[in-house]
């Protein structure tokens, strides 16, 4: 980069291009693939859809939004989603980091343990939901059998609204805690060793090390993991579809399952598009909040 010294403007241009060059591939791919679908969704959300062609028909203004926002079922689905998120996310984050610390203990088999740990994520959602359903079933489930051995009655996991939500959180936690473990393991592995050695020499106990060194260093990773898991969890519907189909009643009908059913089962693509836009707005606001929160945390710890 010595040529640039003679022509400062060109060098600056090259520098700017070099900086932006890092963002360009991601931006271009996303713009190319997402621009039309998002515009289409927005357009449909303000139109009547012509089901025969799947093209926007007559412009109807805010009608679809009015229908959606006055639909008590939409709000109910949002509420169900909120309940699920409030329980599932913290549980997965906490479990994930604790387990990552456990499986990071140095011994010969830890590579295998880490590799095995990712399996729950890989099992196709239809199979994962079905296996859990099979194990929890009050009639032929393994858990029912084991409970019966110690004289306890069967739990109607999928017939009781509260238990069904519990089952969804349980299955989702089983499925996605490994993600947190995976990222947290990498986070722990990237920590600079000299800091810990210094702390050890200073005679700090592990509790102090944890709170003063490990966690502060991990804050960006924890925050990123949270945001990614949050964005993934908002969209959860396959597990609910496979395990409860949103039931009993509508107790586990999370928002994306609701939209999916309204679109592909109810053939209401225009209203679904409006719901998608509303969900996008809500997700945007909350994600913005989380991003700000994680910035504050990062700033405080560094």
């Amino acid at each position: 980069m010595t040529i640039g010294m003679k022509r400062p403007t060109r060098a600056r241009l090259a520098d700017t291009a070099g900086r932006w060059g890092f963002l360009t591939p991601a931006f271009l791919i996303l713009a190319a693939v997402l621009a039309y679908p998002i515009l289409y969704t927005i357009e449909i959300s303000f139109s009547e859809i012509d089901i025969a062609t799947f093209m926007p028909g007559e412009f109807v203004g805010w009608d679809n939004y009015e229908t959606v926002l006055t639909d008590e079922r939409f709000w109910y689905a949002l509420r169900v989603t909120l309940i699920y998120l409030v329980f599932a996310l913290p549980l997965q984050l906490l479990l994930g980091f604790v387990i990552a610390w456990l499986v990071n203990a140095e011994w010969r088999g830890r590579g295998v343990v880490r590799a095995l740990f990712i399996i729950p994520m890989v099992v196709a959602p239809v199979v994962a939901g079905g296996i859990w359903k099979m194990m929890l079933d009050p009639l032929w489930g393994l858990t029912t059998y084991l409970l019966g051995l110690v004289g306890l009655p069967a739990l109607d996991w999928f017939g009781d609204p509260v238990l069904a939500m519990g089952a969804i959180v349980l299955i989702d936690t089983w499925r996605w805690t490994p993600f947190v473990v995976l990222i947290a393991t990498a986070g722990l592995l990237s920590l600079p060793r000299d800091v810990f050695e210094a702390a050890e020499i200073d005679g700090a106990n592990w509790w102090t090390t944890l709170w003063r060194i490990t966690i502060p260093l991990l804050v960006p990773v924890i925050a990123a993991t949270f945001v990614v898991r949050w964005l993934g969890a908002v969209k959860m519907f396959d597990i609910a579809l496979a395990a409860t189909a949103g039931g009993p009643g509508r107790a586990t009908n999370v928002i994306n399952l609701f939209i999916y059913q309204e679109a592909f089962r109810g053939m209401k693509f225009a209203e679904s598009a409006a719901m998608c836009v509303v969900v996008l707005v809500i997700t945007t606001l909350l994600t913005g909040l989380f991003l700000r929160g994680s910035r504050v945390l990062e700033a405080r710890f560094q």
Binding site: Y36, L39, P138, A154, G159, A245, G247, G249, R265, G266
Partner: protein
């Protein structure tokens, strides 16, 4: 539409591919003379057609029925693609409405004909395809109920290729142990509900019930309302009136939904969320005395020892119990339609004619577990002995369905109606709201759909 941009790219792509693409496409285009409907192919120039169907039976069609078809039409190569049920209607509509549809034949579920017809992309089989219809193809031989599934506004768009009816399966052992007579087509709902408590019994001497009376769809699913609808129809009720307004929100209607919900008292633990697979398993494991289920499961439930613990003579199948009007059932017909934009409609129609011919129906019922729709097939010697009682029951179910109009609403917005019913019926079975409230909600929401 916003499609300018993709079109532009497509043009440049075309230019780049140039003559090569044209050369590849040419033979197929030439073979597609409109007058002869593309012909039936020759040994030198075979025709290939593509069929979109449900992936529950696409593979078995490809491996068993297509070879049978090719014995008669060796120059028509058939490719059968399977699509998941939940996306099937959407994909069918998207394909038919495109400028260059991939599929020549689309297999469509019972309530979908109006939606597909609306695209103006289907061949009128009795008019457009009349010239290509085999003189021996006997339209009048079809039972009216299955044939009507692919008719819309007086036009016959399809033929039944895989028929199914909702039946009452029962386990003779359970009935005998409970000291009850086994169900007949005359069994009424009142009788069944009176027998139900006795069918919750201890068959293993455990000192607590380990066998229950009934299992079926109770959870949140588009097919759950069909069970209730069978009770409603059996009592002379209807989903919609002549103006397509909700007609079920009456005292009698609420009573029928209540009957359906009351079944849960005699159903195994966890039945509130049971759907197709769960109820099937509890019946096959000998845990319930009766099951309301699609007839197509008969083979796997009574005959095939790999999938069932029951013996063939242990399992019976009848129409569902009788209400104030007639016995109950519900129609589930897969019909085949031909895309109007197909370059080879004649070959496509030849495939569907064969599928729905006596010959095709025989092959289908013995090889794939599909059921026939023709009177002559049902009355003739069944291809396998175990099919004899099933065929008799099916014939009765077709007649009942025809009389009581026991099918899902035949409308462009049929799936929207079914989704509303699925929602509200599930809320009633879960106990979240009572039957009256569920039907009031459903009626209100259906009328808002402006059918």
């Amino acid at each position: 539409m916003t499609g300018k941009h993709p079109n532009a790219i497509r043009l440049t792509r075309r230019a780049a591919l140039g003559a090569a693409a044209a050369a590849v496409l040419a033979p197929r285009a030439r073979a597609a003379g409109p007058e002869d409907g593309g012909g039936l192919g020759t040994a030198e120039k075979p025709i290939s057609i593509r069929v979109m169907t449900n992936d529950a039976f696409s593979k078995i069609w490809q491996t068993t029925l297509v070879p049978e078809f090719n014995k008669k039409f060796p120059n028509i190569q058939v490719t059968v693609d399977g699509v998941a049920y939940s996306e099937q209607l959407t994909k069918s509509l998207l394909d038919l409405s495109g400028a260059k549809p991939v599929y020549d034949v689309v297999i469509t579920d019972d309530p979908w004909t109006p939606q597909l017809a609306q695209t103006n992309a289907l061949l009128d089989l009795k008019k457009d395809a009349a010239a290509w219809t085999d003189p021996g193809f006997d339209w009048a031989d079809f039972n009216p109920a299955p044939l009507a599934a692919s008719e819309w506004k007086g036009v016959q768009y399809g033929v039944p290729v895989r028929s199914n009816m909702l039946l009452m399966f029962y386990n003779r052992t359970h009935y005998r142990k409970a000291g009850l007579p086994e169900p007949t087509p005359k069994l009424t709902w009142a009788e069944f509900m009176a027998q139900a408590p006795k069918l919750v019994q201890d068959l293993k001497g455990e000192g607590k019930p380990n066998a229950w009376a009934i299992d079926t769809y109770f959870g949140r699913d588009q097919l759950t309302p069909t069970i209730w609808q069978a009770i409603l129809n059996a009592n002379g009720g209807k989903l919609l009136d002549a103006n397509n307004k909700a007609a079920f929100n009456t005292k009698d209607g609420v009573a029928t939904l209540q009957t359906f919900v009351d079944l849960l008292k005699y159903a195994p633990p966890g039945a509130k969320n049971h759907l197709f697979n769960d109820s099937l398993q509890s019946f096959r494991q000998g845990q319930v005395a009766a099951m309301f289920m699609w007839g197509s499961v008969y083979r796997g439930t009574a005959i095939d020892p790999a999938t069932t613990t029951l013996k063939p003579d242990e399992v019976g199948a009848q129409v569902m119990p009788v209400g104030s009007a007639l016995p109950g059932t519900h129609r589930g017909i897969w019909s085949g339609v031909v895309s109007r934009k197909s370059p080879t409609p004649r070959a496509a129609w030849a495939f569907l004619q064969w599928m729905s011919s006596k010959e095709g129906e025989a092959a289908s019922s013995s090889l794939t577990g599909g059921f026939p729709a023709r009177r002559s097939t049902l009355a003739g010697t069944p291809p396998a002995p175990w099919l004899a009682p099933v065929f008799a029951t099916l014939q009765m179910a077709y007649d009942v369905a025809e009389k009581g109009q026991m099918w899902r609403p035949r409308l462009v917005k049929s799936d929207s109606v079914q989704q509303v019913l699925a929602d509200e019926v599930a809320r009633a079975t879960s106990g979240e709201i009572d039957a009256a409230a569920a039907l009031a909600n459903a009626a209100n929401r259906i009328d808002k759909l402006r059918l």
